[in-house]
């Protein structure tokens, strides 16, 4: 479903910096892929390129055979609000809006009827367990609730691809677990492909496949076979194999 072909990214500037080199990657429909790597390895850059926030220097991104980077401005906007969903580490909710309004924002931008928006928001809120806070403003809710709101916003329009950048980075372990289980359920039930960038081996172990990148290059990938516990162990092993030690993976991304 998602294909990356020879993606490279060079940041121009006084000191040109090569962030990504020849990345080739394919994500199947309904697959849950985690991207891991040390700080500065290019994970977020890769995610930004897929999400059309940033553009690649060379190479092509294909989503269902179409290259979103070649779309016109308005088509691109339509593409973002229909095909993609985003979850950020710092939630990025609009604090002028209530939880419910934040959730329906992509539909609002798309001009959907109010009644339909309301129904869909309620359905999703119930599913994510945030029905009780729908009328609250963003500064009145906890981090876990904020991230659930962000997930609701990301999936309300039924995107093909859900992109998550460190979705658990600002959450405690309980909230992290809830969020990850939610992502898994969205992935399994709606057949939405999920691409998640993370530092956290625990978070990565919820995925079907983990891709490791290092210094802007694909390093290796491992598939989840058996239990999550064993998968977690193999992720840890791979991280140490990559030359880093466990503690290289700081809890906070720079």
């Amino acid at each position: 479903m998602l294909q990356l072909q020879n993606i490279s990214k060079v940041y121009e500037g006084k000191v040109p910096f090569r962030a990504l080199t020849d990345i080739n990657l394919e994500v199947e429909k309904g697959e849950f892929v985690a991207i891991m790597g040390p700080s500065g390895s290019g994970k977020t850059t890769l995610l930004n390129i897929i999400s059309t926030i940033d553009s690649p220097t060379t190479g092509t991104v294909l989503l269902d055979g179409k290259n979103p980077h070649q779309l016109g401005k308005n088509e691109l906007a339509r593409f973002r609000r229909r095909e993609l969903g985003f979850v950020f580490q710092d939630f990025n909710l609009l604090h002028t809006l209530t939880v419910e309004e934040n959730i329906v924002l992509p539909l609002t931008l798309d001009g959907v009827r109010v009644k339909e928006m309301k129904e869909r928001a309620e359905k999703i809120a119930e599913r994510l367990g945030i029905s009780s806070i729908l009328k609250k403003r963003t500064y009145e809710i906890s981090g876990g609730q904020a991230q659930r709101t962000a997930i609701a916003r990301a999936i309300i329009h039924g995107p093909k691809l859900l992109l998550a950048d460190e979705p658990t980075g600002n959450l405690d372990s309980k909230a992290s677990k809830d969020v990850l289980e939610m992502l898994v359920s969205i992935n399994k039930q709606d057949k939405t492909s999920v691409l998640m960038v993370t530092h956290d081996p625990q978070a990565a172990s919820y995925s079907d496949r983990v891709i490791f990148i290092r210094d802007g290059k694909l390093h290796s990938e491992i598939h989840r076979g058996e239990s999550r516990q064993a998968f977690f162990q193999r992720i840890i092993d791979m991280l140490s194999l990559m030359g880093g030690e466990g503690r290289d993976f700081s809890a906070v991304r720079v």
């Binding site: 930004n48 926030i53 553009s55 401005k73 973002r80 229909r82 985003f86 809006l97 992509p106 798309d110």
Partner: protein, 632 residues
């Protein structure tokens, strides 16, 4: 939630963010509206005010409108800059650029509408005060009663709805959707320091010095010729001062580790250079706008005082009668009687002195030179409570020409000194003293001699009788009324200072009022620019101080940094503007050769005081915000 509701919620739920923009828009509307209330006052439509005043007011209204346009545009663009990240997020969520433009458009229409209505309402509240002030400054016969300004409301409402509509269109097109990644990371990107070169920094200093030098060197009519080039040079110099010289100085300070690494200096300077590009532009704008305000108000004020004070000095008496040349003695005496009659009619009690002035032949002076008897002079001086003079029998006192005469070439005293005064017996009088005096109504300079020798001066070229009246205090209205009658019945020959001043103030009042109004508008908007600049960086500052507080920054230290930072922002451009204004007013005073020091000091001083108060208020709120955010 529809898109329109979304735009509405954005504004209504985030009042603090929109407040600054809203308030400055509201302020602009209010200024325009109060001006409109005044300009459309029914009292003016009856032809009581000259046509040119009405013309002046419409021009002033136009200036305020055009200025409002740019002011609102500026406020809005700086407001939008602070929201780049939000636009980035919306784009990520799938908003097209036309949707973001529509959002901005809707927001602006909403704010514009509220600001227009709010401005009109606040304007109405202040209307009475404005009309009262106007009435006093303007000296209008009819009083400016409060009225319900339907026309002003309509004009203001329509003008500003058009203005906001145009600006909304304009800005939403200008709002470029930069690369998304830049929008999202906008708060972390510096616009960089402006490039600075030593050469340009030196040029800045040179241009300013050259401009100032020229402005201070030229005299009289030269000032007019030098004005445009000096203004251009100084504007360029000011621009370079802020973009080059200041950057250069900050660089030098930063490279000196003894200074840069000393306590909180590091925080202060690094921030200064980080924001220098934005700051330089704001500083330049503020400095120029304030200079315009200072110079405009200063020169109007100065000119006013030049007119009134000059006239007052030259005419110290309430009424003066000077006959036309070659008027018969009988006629003169009759006219003086006529003046007495008018004064009596108006119940003006005044002390009167008359004297015969004898003019003697003098080479190069048409109509001869006045040689006055000391006794005549002393009688007149007594009326004014001035010191009498007692010239000896072998001397003559020279009286300098009056201040009101614009002097070209030699002063009267120099000419009089070169002209020997010979008595009939051949004795030449000594000139020991030159005094300045306005006692006798003669502006061209004259001699005073001892009464004893007066008869030996020969036959005068001509003689005329002059009379002066000094009215007792506390009867201003009668004096003015008598002055009006005198001016009507005996024009040119009689002069009433109080009536003349009344006429000057009446003609000059509207100009002064309009000038003051526009000057204050400029000054306050300069203040708003500074406010915007400061609060655009509030979030960055919060972030910065929060992280520095973590490594140990006491609130007192934070206060010190913020103090200096804000003080620099508030006073650097104003200080430059004050110096500019002082130089401009000095040049003006040299043009008229009239001392404007007191007036300039008063005008510039009051602006400085207002700025200090403004600074203290803004700093208080800024610190409060920071304190809340940092919580140290």
């Amino acid at each position: 939630m529809t898109f329109r509701q979304f735009a509405f919620n954005q504004v209504m739920r985030n009042k603090r963010l929109y407040m600054a923009y809203f308030l400055s828009s509201l302020f602009t509307v209010m200024v325009f509206f109060t001006f409109a209330i005044f300009a459309f006052h029914p009292a003016f439509r009856d032809g009581a005010v000259h046509r040119y005043v009405l013309f002046g007011m419409s021009v002033a209204g136009g200036i305020i409108y055009v200025f409002s346009f740019f002011f609102v545009l500026y406020s809005m663009s700086s407001f939008l800059h602070s929201r780049k990240r939000e636009f980035g997020l919306l784009t990520v969520l799938g908003a097209s650029s036309s949707q973001i433009r529509r959002l901005v458009f809707l927001e602006n229409i909403l704010i514009g509408f509220l600001a227009t209505v709010g401005g009109i309402v606040t304007g109405l509240i202040f209307a009475k005060a404005i009309l009262l002030i106007a009435e006093n400054v303007l000296i209008i016969e009819e009083s400016l009663d409060f009225y319900f300004p339907t026309l002003a409301i309509i004009v203001t409402f329509v003008s500003f709805m058009i203005l906001f509509f145009c600006i909304s269109l304009f800005v939403s097109f200008v709002l470029r959707t930069n690369k998304l990644i830049h929008l999202i990371k906008s708060d972390k990107l510096s616009k960089g320091e402006p490039k600075s070169s030593l050469w340009l920094a030196v040029l800045a200093a040179f241009l300013l010095l050259a401009g100032y030098g020229t402005a201070l060197y030229v005299k009289g009519i030269q000032v007019v010729h030098a004005m445009v080039p000096v203004i251009v040079i100084v504007i360029i110099g000011t621009y370079l001062l802020f973009t080059q010289l200041s950057v250069y100085i900050i660089r030098r300070l930063k490279s000196n580790k003894n200074i840069f690494w000393r306590k909180t200096n590091m925080l202060l300077f690094s921030d200064l250079s980080f924001r220098m590009k934005d700051n330089a532009r704001t500083f330049f704008l503020v400095a120029i706008i304030s200079t315009v305000a200072f110079s405009a108000i200063g020169s109007l004020f100065g000119f006013h005082s030049y007119l009134t004070k000059g006239v007052k000095e030259a005419n110290p008496y309430s009424f003066i009668y000077t006959p036309l040349q070659r008027t018969g003695e009988k006629e003169i005496l009759e006219e003086i009687k006529q003046v007495d009659a008018i004064l009596q009619e108006e119940h003006v009690s005044a002390k009167k002195e008359t004297a015969v002035f004898h003019y003697f032949e003098m080479a190069g002076r048409h109509g001869g030179v006045l040689i006055a008897k000391a006794s005549d002079y002393n009688r007149f001086a007594a009326l004014l409570h001035k010191d009498p003079v007692f010239p000896k029998e072998d001397e003559a006192i020279i009286v300098e020409q009056s201040h009101v005469m614009m002097y070209q070439g030699k002063k009267a005293s120099e000419i009089l000194l070169e002209n020997p005064l010979r008595l009939e017996n051949g004795q030449v009088l000594r000139f020991n003293r030159i005094i300045e005096s306005e006692v006798l109504p003669e502006v061209n300079g004259y001699y005073i001699v001892n009464d004893e020798i007066f008869d030996q001066l020969g036959t005068p070229l001509r003689s005329e009788i002059n009379a002066v009246w000094q009215a007792a205090g506390g009867q201003k209205e009668q004096v003015i009324e008598a002055g009006r009658k005198l001016t009507e019945q005996l024009p040119i020959k009689t002069f009433s200072i109080d009536y003349a001043l009344y006429e000057i103030n009446k003609a000059y009042g509207p100009i002064l009022f309009i000038g003051l109004f526009i000057g204050i508008v400029f000054f306050v908007s300069a203040g708003s620019f500074l406010y915007f600049r400061l609060f655009t960086d509030l979030d960055a500052d919060k972030e910065k101080f929060r992280s520095v507080a973590k490594i140990g920054l006491a609130f007192s230290e934070l206060k010190k940094v913020v103090n200096r930072q804000t003080a620099l922002l508030f006073f650097a451009p104003i200080a430059v503007a004050l110096v500019h204004g002082a130089v401009a007013l000095t040049a003006l005073s040299r043009m008229f050769d009239y001392d404007l020091t007191a007036e300039s000091a008063f005008v510039l001083g009051s602006f400085a005081v207002i700025q200090i108060i403004y600074f203290l208020i803004v700093r208080f709120f800024y610190l409060k915000q920071l304190k809340k955010a940092v919580a140290v």
